[in-house]
C-alpha cells in the first residue's frame, strides 16, 4: 500500500530539490520548485517552513546560517544521510502512487 498525502508530496519536492542543489535556503527552494515545475507547482511559505522545521527535527536535513550570493544572511539546508534514505523511499513510494492512480484512471 503506497502512502500518499499532500504533506508527503511536499516533503518529496523539498528532499529532491535539496539533493539536486546540494544546499539551499528556504526562499531558494521555493523559487527552484516554482521555476523547474514551470510555475505549475507553487509552494506557499506557510507550508514550506513548517515542513523544513519538521524535517530538521526528524534529522533529514541539517541547517546552518550562511551568506547568500547577494549578501543576505540565510539559513541553508542540506540533506543528511537519513534524508537521502528518506528521499529514496519517498521516490519509490511516489512511483507506486502514480502507477496506482494511472491504473485507476485507465480503467474502462
Amino acid at each position: 500500500m503506497a502512502k500518499n498525502d499532500l504533506q508527503g508530496t511536499l516533503d518529496l519536492l523539498i528532499l529532491k530539490t535539496l539533493s539536486q542543489l546540494g544546499s539551499m535556503h528556504g526562499y531558494g527552494i521555493l523559487m527552484h520548485i516554482r521555476r523547474v515545475s514551470d510555475e505549475l507547482l507553487i509552494v506557499e511559505e506557510g507550508s514550506l517552513y513548517p515542513a523544513l522545521h519538521r524535517m530538521q527535527q526528524n534529522g533529514w536535513v541539517r541547517a546552518s546560517w550562511a551568506m547568500t550570493d547577494y549578501g543576505r544572511k540565510a539559513k541553508w539546508y542540506a540533506l543528511t544521510r537519513a534524508g537521502r534514505e528518506q528521499l529514496v523511499s519517498r521516490e519509490k513510494n511516489w512511483a507506486q502512487v502514480v502507477k496506482g492512480v494511472d491504473a485507476v484512471l485507465r480503467f474502462a
Partner: protein
C-alpha cells in the same frame, strides 16, 4: 539521536522562535530583492512580498506547532501557562486542589493503615519463609487460653522443638505484661517470653550486647538475663549504656544482656515489646509454673521453612504426628472427661510472612470496606472536578476559539487543558499526601486506647507511592480528558460570533454535565446509605440494653500478690477491702467479680441437673461474684436472695442463676432450691450447687452476642482464689475525687497493692472500636459526598440558568409566569435527581450485601434506611437547586434580551 535533538531543542524554545523569525524576515527580504530586480519600486516590492507571504506570526506558530505534531510540545511551556491560569483564578484552583486533597488524602490515609496492618511484612530476614503452627480444633481445648493468637502448651512446644521436620528452625513466643513497679498505680511493661531459638530463627541481630541462644533456654534456668527493645532503651535509659543494668520485673531483678535493633517490634503487628526473657524463666516470674501443665495454652510457635519444603508439606507432617504429640503431652491435670477430645486434636501450619495480628482480624474487613468507600468519594470528587473543569472550559470558550482561529491545533488545545489538570492533580496529590500523614496518625490515635496501645510502622514505601501516583494520574485523566475533548471541539466560528452568554447553548453539553451530576447523586446515595447503616448499627450496639446499668460504674483492677496472703485468707481479705470501699462517703455500692461483663473475658463450663445423667449437659457461662454484685450493676433480682457473708467455704455451695439458665436446663419459673452440677475443671473437681437466687438475663462477654445462661457463684466459696480482684463500684462523686479516695483506701489496706482504674462504659466502648471507626468515617464520607453532590447540582443548575438567560427572557417577554419559570428549572433538576436516585438505589442494593457481616441489629438492605437516605439526599439537593431556580425567575427580560 533525532529524539535527543528534539528534546534538547525544547529547552531552547525562545532561541528557536527568534531564529524562525529571523529566517522568515530574510525570506521576505529576498522576495523584495527579487521583486525590485524585476523592476518594481521599493514600496510595490514590499507590498507584493507581504501579500504573498501572509502573516509572519501565523507562519511562526505553524512552524513551532510542528513540534506538537511530533508529539513533543514543550511541557515546561504548558506548565508555565497553566500556572499563569491558576494564579489568575486562585479561588477555582483552591477549590480544585482542596477537593482533590480531601479525596486523595482520605484514600491514602486508609490505605496507609491497611498497608501497615495487612500488607507489610515482618521486619526480619526473609519473612516469606515463616509459618506458624496452630491447633485446628482449638475450641475443644480445656484449661486457660492466654492469647488470641494460635497457642499450644509448653509441653507441645517441647515436642515440636524436638522434631521440626520441614522447618529449618522453629521458635516460640508469648507476649504477657510484667509489673515494672512495686505497688500503687500499676505500671506494666510489655513483656515477651521467647524460646532460645527465637531471635536466631527470625534472623534478628543484636544492636548491642547479645540476644538469647538455645543455651539460655534450659529448664530451671532461673533469671539469667533480659533483652530489651530499642524503644524501651530510649524511653527508659535515654540511650545511655544499659547493658549490665538491673531491671525490676514482677518484683525480681533481671540483668539486661542485649538490645534489639530499632525496626524490630516482635511478631505481632500493631504491638511492640519492652523486655524479653527466655521461656524457661517463667516459673521464676509468675506464681504458677506453666512449663509442665497440659492445661495452660500459652506459647505461640513460629518456624522458618526449609527451602526444600512447602507449608502444605509441613502441615501434612504435623497432622500425621499429631496423635503422637498429643498422647505424649497429656498430664494428670487434664480433666478426665475431656481427654478423648485432647487426644483427637490436630496441629497444622500456615504462612506467617506478614506476622500475626489480632489487629488484622479485627480491622481487616472494616478497613477494606472503608477503602472502598474512600474510593467512591474519590470518584465523586473526580466527577465534581470534571464538572468544574468543564464549566471553566465553557467560560474560556472565546479564548479557545481565538486560539483555534489563529492556527492552534486541536491536539495542542487538548494538551493545554490536560496540562492544567495534570498540574492540579499533582498539587492535589501532594496536598493529599500531607493530609494523609496527619489523618492516618489521627486514625491510629483514635484506635489506640490507654489499655491497648497500637503502634504501627507507617512508611512511605513504593506501594503507597504507586497507589498515590495511580490515583492522581487516574483523576487527572478522568476529569481532564472530558474537559479537554470538549474544549477542542469548540467550533471557532460559532464561538467567535457569540457576543455573550446565552448564544452558545447546546443540548449535548448539558447532557454530559447532566450525566456527571446523575452519577454524583447515585454514588452519594450509596455512601449516604452506608453511613446511615453503620451509624444505626453503632447506635443499636450502644443503646442495646445489656441487662445492667453501665453508666457510673468504674472498675479497679487489683493485684495484691506482694502482700503474700495465703489462699485461705484471701476471701477474708477481699471482704475486708470491699467493706472499706463501701464505707467511703459517696460510694453507693461496690462488689467484686472475676469476670467483668462485656470486657471480653469469659468462662464457661458444662452443667446438668442433679439426678440427670451427666451426658445431658448444657454449656453455661460462669462468674464468681461477691455480695451486692447485682445491686451494684442494678441487675434485677427476680426471686430468692443475693449472696451474703454467711456463704463461706464452710457452708453449702450456692449459686444464683439467670432466667436463661433456668430455661435452658428446664427448671421452669421457679428454680430455687434445685441443685445443678458443674463439670470438673483443671483447678476444681466436679461440684454440685444449690440455686438460691434468680436474676434477669444480662449480656456476658460481648454486646453483639445474645443473652445466654449464666450461673453466678459465691466468691467467698471459691477455694482457688487468685491474688487479683476486679472491683466494681458505683458512686456519685466525680471521677477524680472518687479515685483519690479509693486509692487512699487501697494504700491503707496494704502498700503493696497494685491497681488500675477504668470506666465500665469506656471498656465497653473500646470493644466497639471497629464499629465506631466504621460509623465515624463512613459518616464523614457520607457527609462529604452529600456536600459534593449539592455543589455539583447547584453548579449545573446555575450553569443552565446562565446559559438559558436569553431563552428565559423571551419566555417572560411572551408572558410566562415567574412560578412557571422556577418550575421549569426545578423540573430539570428533579429529573436529574430522580435518575440519580434510581441509579443509586439499585447500586446500594447491589453493594449492600458487602456490609452485611459488619452490621448489628439491622439488615443490609434495610428499606427504611434506604428510603431515609434517598429522602435526605433529595431534600438537600432540591434545596441546592432552589437558589438557581429562583434566580431564573428573577431574570429581567429587557436586560436579558438587550444583552444580545
Amino acid at each position: 539521536m533525532a529524539l535527543l535533538r528534539r528534546v534538547l531543542s525544547l529547552r531552547r524554545r525562545t532561541r528557536m522562535e527568534r531564529e524562525i523569525d529571523a529566517e522568515l524576515r530574510e525570506h521576505v527580504a529576498m522576495s523584495i530583492d527579487d521583486n525590485m530586480a524585476q523592476g518594481m519600486s521599493r514600496e510595490e516590492a514590499e507590498r507584493d512580498a507581504r501579500r504573498r507571504f501572509g502573516n509572519p506570526a501565523v507562519i511562526r506558530e505553524r512552524v513551532s506547532a510542528e513540534d506538537a505534531t511530533l508529539g513533543l510540545e514543550s511541557l515546561w511551556h504548558d506548565a508555565r501557562s497553566a500556572l499563569r491560569v491558576f494564579v489568575k483564578s486562585p479561588g477555582f484552583s483552591f477549590i480544585v486542589v482542596a477537593t482533590l486533597a480531601l479525596g486523595i488524602g482520605a484514600n491514602t490515609a486508609i490505605f496507609e493503615l491497611l498497608d501497615a496492618v495487612l500488607l507489610q511484612s515482618l521486619p526480619v530476614r526473609n519473612p516469606q519463609e515463616l509459618a506458624q503452627v496452630r491447633v485446628v480444633n482449638m475450641h475443644k481445648a480445656r484449661g486457660s487460653v492466654f492469647s488470641g493468637y494460635p497457642v499450644v502448651t509448653n509441653l507441645i512446644w517441647d515436642k515440636l522443638r524436638g522434631d521440626h521436620q520441614g522447618f529449618s528452625g522453629i521458635a516460640a513466643w508469648r507476649d504477657l505484661p510484667f509489673f515494672g513497679d512495686s505497688g500503687g498505680d500499676a505500671r506494666f511493661l510489655k513483656g515477651l517470653y521467647v524460646s532460645g531459638e527465637f531471635f536466631g530463627v527470625l534472623g534478628v541481630r543484636p544492636m548491642a550486647g547479645r540476644l538469647f541462644t538455645p543455651a539460655d533456654d534450659r529448664l530451671g534456668c532461673g533469671l539469667q538475663g533480659a533483652v530489651i527493645s530499642y524503644g524501651f532503651w530510649q524511653q527508659e535509659f535515654g540511650g545511655r549504656p544499659a547493658l549490665g543494668e538491673k531491671l525490676k520485673l514482677n518484683d525480681k531483678y533481671v540483668e539486661i544482656i542485649g538490645i534489639t535493633p530499632p525496626n524490630f517490634f516482635g511478631v505481632a503487628v500493631g504491638s511492640t515489646f519492652d523486655v524479653a526473657v527466655p521461656i524457661c524463666s517463667q516459673p521464676d516470674l509468675d506464681t504458677t509454673n506453666m512449663l509442665n501443665a497440659s492445661t495452660k495454652w500459652w506459647v505461640s510457635v513460629i518456624g522458618r521453612l526449609d527451602p526444600a519444603s512447602s507449608v502444605e508439606q509441613v502441615a501434612a507432617h504435623l497432622e500425621t504426628n499429631s496423635p503422637g504429640i498429643f498422647a505424649s503431652t497429656l498430664r494428670a491435670d487434664y480433666p478426665p472427661a475431656s481427654v478423648k477430645d485432647y487426644l483427637a486434636m490436630k496441629l497444622t501450619a500456615e504462612p506467617s510472612a506478614a506476622g500475626v495480628s489480632t489487629l488484622r482480624e479485627m480491622y481487616s474487613r472494616p478497613l477494606r470496606f472503608l477503602l472502598g468507600t474512600a474510593g467512591l468519594v474519590l470518584l465523586i470528587t473526580c466527577t465534581n472536578l470534571a464538572s468544574l473543569m468543564l464549566a471553566r472550559t465553557t467560560a474560556r470558550e472565546r479564548d479557545m476559539a481565538v486560539r483555534l482561529a489563529i492556527g492552534a491545533g486541536r491536539w495542542r488545545l487538548i494538551r493545554l487543558v490536560l496540562g492544567e489538570s495534570l498540574l492540579l492533580s499533582i498539587a492535589g496529590a501532594v496536598a493529599g499526601a500531607a493530609l494523609a500523614q496527619a489523618l492516618s496518625r489521627a486514625l491510629v490515635a483514635y484506635l489506640s486506647t490507654q489499655n491497648s496501645p497500637i503502634s504501627l510502622d507507617f512508611k512511605l514505601d513504593w506501594r503507597l507511592f504507586a497507589f498515590l501516583l495511580g490515583i492522581s494520574l487516574l483523576t487527572c485523566l478522568l476529569f481532564g480528558l472530558a474537559a479537554a475533548v470538549r474544549a477542542s471541539r469548540t467550533p471557532p466560528s460559532a464561538a467567535m460570533k457569540a457576543g455573550g452568554p446565552g448564544m452558545t447553548a447546546s443540548r449535548g453539553r448539558l447532557g454530559f454535565r447532566g450525566a456527571l451530576v446523575v452519577s454524583q447523586v447515585a454514588l452519594s446515595l450509596v455512601l449516604l446509605f452506608g453511613a446511615l447503616l453503620f451509624t444505626q448499627s453503632l447506635r443499636n450496639l450502644l443503646s442495646n440494653d445489656p441487662g445492667f446499668q453501665v453508666k457510673g460504674v468504674r472498675v479497679a483492677g487489683l493485684n495484691f500478690a506482694r502482700l503474700k496472703i495465703p489462699v485461705d485468707g484471701r476471701a477474708a481479705f477481699q471482704r475486708q477491702l470491699l467493706d472499706r470501699i463501701r464505707s467511703i462517703p459517696g460510694v453507693e455500692d461496690a462488689a467484686d467479680t472475676n469476670v467483668v461483663p462485656l470486657s471480653g473475658t469469659s468462662w464457661s463450663n458444662a452443667v446438668w441437673i442433679d439426678g440427670h445423667d451427666s451426658t445431658v449437659r448444657q454449656e453455661s457461662d460462669f462468674s464468681t461474684v461477691s455480695p451486692k454484685y447485682f445491686k451494684t450493676l442494678r441487675i434485677p433480682m427476680v426471686a430468692g436472695r443475693d449472696f451474703n457473708d454467711h456463704d463461706t467455704s464452710q457452708s453449702p455451695s450456692v449459686a444464683v442463676v439467670n432466667e436463661a439458665f433456668a430455661k435452658k436446663l428446664g427448671l421452669g419459673a421457679n428454680p430455687l432450691g434445685e441443685h445443678f452440677w458443674r463439670e470438673a475443671t483443671p483447678s476444681a473437681p466436679m461440684q454440685s450447687y444449690l440455686i438460691v437466687g434468680l436474676v434477669r438475663d444480662t449480656k456476658y462477654s460481648g454486646i453483639r452476642l445474645p443473652m445466654g445462661p449464666i450461673a453466678y457463684l459465691a466468691r467467698a466459696q471459691d477455694s482457688s482464689l487468685d491474688n487479683v480482684m476486679q472491683l466494681l463500684f458505683r458512686s456519685n462523686l466525680p471521677v477524680g475525687t472518687q479515685e483519690v479516695a479509693i486509692r487512699q483506701a487501697f494504700l491503707n489496706v496494704g502498700a503493696g497493692i497494685r491497681f488500675k482504674f477504668d470506666g465500665l462504659e469506656d471498656q465497653i466502648g473500646q470493644s466497639l472500636l471497629a464499629e465506631r471507626l466504621l460509623a465515624t468515617l463512613s459518616g464523614f464520607f457520607g457527609a462529604l459526598a452529600v456536600v459534593l453532590a449539592m455543589t455539583g447540582l447547584y453548579g449545573v443548575m446555575s450553569y443552565t440558568v446562565t446559559e438559558r438567560t436569553t431563552e428565559i427572557g423571551i419566555r417572560m417577554a411572551l408572558g410566562a409566569q415567574r412560578s412557571s419559570i422556577t418550575a421549569m428549572i426545578l423540573g430539570k433538576a428533579a429529573k436529574l435527581l430522580a435518575t440519580g436516585l434510581v441509579l443509586g438505589i439499585s447500586l446500594s442494593l447491589a453493594a449492600a450485601s458487602a456490609a452485611g457481616a459488619l452490621l448489628f441489629g439491622l439488615k443490609p438492605r434495610d428499606p427504611a434506611t434506604l428510603a431515609g437516605a434517598s429522602l435526605l439526599l433529595a431534600v438537600v439537593t432540591v434545596l441546592a437547586s432552589l437558589v438557581p431556580s429562583l434566580r431564573a425567575a428573577n431574570v429581567n427580560p429587557t436586560k436579558a434580551l438587550r444583552a444580545e
